[in-house]
């Protein structure tokens, strides 16, 4: 399989033109401070710079990358800096929606299993919550006189109607195994990936351009 077809997921590629008259030595000299950060190692060989990062600091402007290659090439319009860099953070963010979908699916499966087990127990005449239900029905809920005086709403009385109670319990059980949060985080990470892929691409290009111009 040609990785090039899918490596845009975790790779950021791009090019920045060098300033007029700038040599590769000058250009790498200007970029040098970016590779003097905690957890970063780099090598220069001719027109190529290779770097690696491990446990990079949160505020490292290249923190999303684990490694990459920067090359100065001559193009028709003059020398350009071409780069290709890999990011585990982007890959992880791309895959995270699948993980949260799996958690949502797990909850659905566990919810079904739990329902089956409860129904089987009921059929066998052993309602595990029967005692709890009786306790709840016997509970008398009263508001303290101070709260009454201050106007706090009275608490809701426990429902005596068996049907309603069963409905409430089902709702509670459904919430216990609800896949909603899994779906919400699936959406959040899908959005985060799109934002990150566009934002970080733009930020690194801006960083290289500014550094090459000596503004960084």
């Amino acid at each position: 399989m040609n990785l090039r077809l899918i490596d845009w997921i975790w790779c950021i590629r791009g090019s920045v033109p060098l300033a007029p008259g700038q040599t590769s030595g000058d250009a790498f000299g200007k970029l040098e401070p970016l590779f003097q950060k905690q957890g970063t190692t780099h090598e220069r060989a001719g027109n190529t710079l290779t770097f690696r990062k491990k446990d990079q600091a949160a505020q490292d402007k290249m923190s999303i990358f684990e490694g990459g290659v920067l090359q100065i090439e001559n193009s028709a319009g003059g020398p350009v800096l071409r780069y290709v860099m890999t990011s585990r953070a982007l890959l992880f963010c791309f895959l995270a929606p699948l993980l949260f979908l799996a958690f949502a699916q797990l909850n659905i499966t566990l919810g079904k299993m739990d329902k089956q087990a409860t129904e089987a127990a009921k059929k066998a005449g052993k309602d595990p919550d029967a005692k709890k239900k009786a306790d709840e029905e016997n509970k008398e809920i009263k508001l303290n006189p101070i709260d009454k005086m201050l106007g706090a709403p009275e608490p809701e009385k426990p429902k005596k109607d068996g049907k309603d109670k069963a409905g409430d319990k089902d709702k509670k059980e459904d919430k216990k195994y609800s896949p909603t949060s899994g779906y919400v985080f699936t959406g959040i990470f899908a959005a985060l990936y799109l934002i990150g892929r566009i934002l970080e691409d733009w930020l690194i290009k801006r960083l290289f351009r500014k550094s090459l111009l000596g503004e960084g």
Partner: protein, 328 residues
């Protein structure tokens, strides 16, 4: 570094820390900014208490609390951007994605796990085994007192669990991962090894009965105090607030690069518990994280307690090299 003597201990020998409120920078800017960042915290606390106290039953529900919680966090993220405490704690895309991953774990797989081995299940099992019911003394108390008791009981338990984590190696292993965060942001409280996140969430509140509204009030109190532990916003918190409640200042010191300074300010919301037990230090730190601020990756955070634990076990019980005994 010389360090600073605080009671019987010297802190700040391994990492920079600031001790004493008089040495902590204040919010700078115009009168509106000063007013806003001085009274924001108490206004939110009292506003939420009033809301939950008087909200009709149709609104006073858990789902409303969830929406308020999300909205409040988004607002605080905006404040992090408007008035950051430190530029070195600025939220980046990678930090946000990492933090939200842990928040996501808390809302999904850890919640599912809670259905099987959480404190609710444990309490039910204990009650079943010893055949005793919930303690119902508190339901007749005034709502605010009930809410305080819920929050206090949980925080008191958290204090000792957290202190235990800093003093007993098997508990320190899962907690240590949380001390590799190198900056404080609104969702950093969720960052940690799942074992620790499970342990720190355990409480004994389930043994007691309270009115549902008291739980909502307690949740609001806990949120509007505890949320400031991990946040990159500079507030001029009022004196009484700093005396009673945990602040970013207290918690940043707890996360500092100095080992001795990490062994203070254990409570979640009520710093007066630390004052009661002599573990409170008023101060702050900017440079955070173990191993001089080494940022740990998610994969290492997931495995670190186990790999470190295994290393320690091997060191302790592994085959000892025979030591040479000199001939007499």
């Amino acid at each position: 570094m010389d360090g600073i003597r605080v009671g019987n201990r010297v802190i700040g020998t391994q990492g920079p820390v600031t001790v004493g409120w008089e040495n902590i920078p204040k919010v700078e800017g115009g009168p509106f900014k000063l007013f806003f960042f001085t009274y924001f915290q108490p206004a939110v606390l009292f506003g939420l208490i009033l809301f939950w106290y008087y909200a009709p039953n149709s609104i006073a529900k858990g789902t409303t609390a969830i929406y308020i919680g999300i909205g409040f966090k988004v607002l605080l993220m905006a404040l992090e951007w408007i008035n950051p405490r430190y530029a070195s704690w600025q939220l980046t895309w990678k930090e946000l994605a990492t933090d939200l991953f842990y928040v996501g774990l808390g809302y999904t797989v850890l919640k599912t796990l809670d259905n099987y081995i959480g404190d609710g299940v444990m309490i039910e099992a204990i009650q079943h085994a010893f055949d005793f019911k919930n303690v119902t003394w508190f339901t007749g108390l005034p709502l605010l007192l009930q809410a305080f008791l819920i929050a206090f009981i949980f925080d008191f338990g958290q204090y000792w669990m957290h202190r235990g984590m800093h003093n007993w190696y098997p508990l320190w292993l899962p907690h240590s991962v949380h001390h590799y965060i190198t900056q404080l942001n609104i969702n950093k409280g969720a960052v940690g090894n799942p074992v620790e996140l499970f342990l720190i969430g355990l409480g004994v509140g389930g043994f007691f009965d309270f009115l549902p509204r008291a739980f909502l009030l307690a949740g609001a109190i806990g949120m509007s105090i505890g949320v400031y532990q991990h946040i990159n916003v500079r507030f001029n918190s009022p004196k009484w607030w700093r005396f009673l409640f945990n602040t970013t200042e207290h918690h940043s010191l707890h996360h500092s690069q100095d080992y001795e300074a990490t062994r203070c300010n254990y409570s979640n919301s009520f710093i007066f518990i630390d004052r009661m037990f002599g573990t409170c230090i008023d101060g702050e730190a900017e440079m955070l994280g173990l191993e001089h601020g080494r940022r740990m990756s998610i994969s290492e955070q997931m495995t670190y307690p186990f790999t470190e634990g295994w290393k320690s076990l091997k060191e302790r019980f592994g085959q000892q090299q025979p030591t040479a005994v000199p001939a007499e």
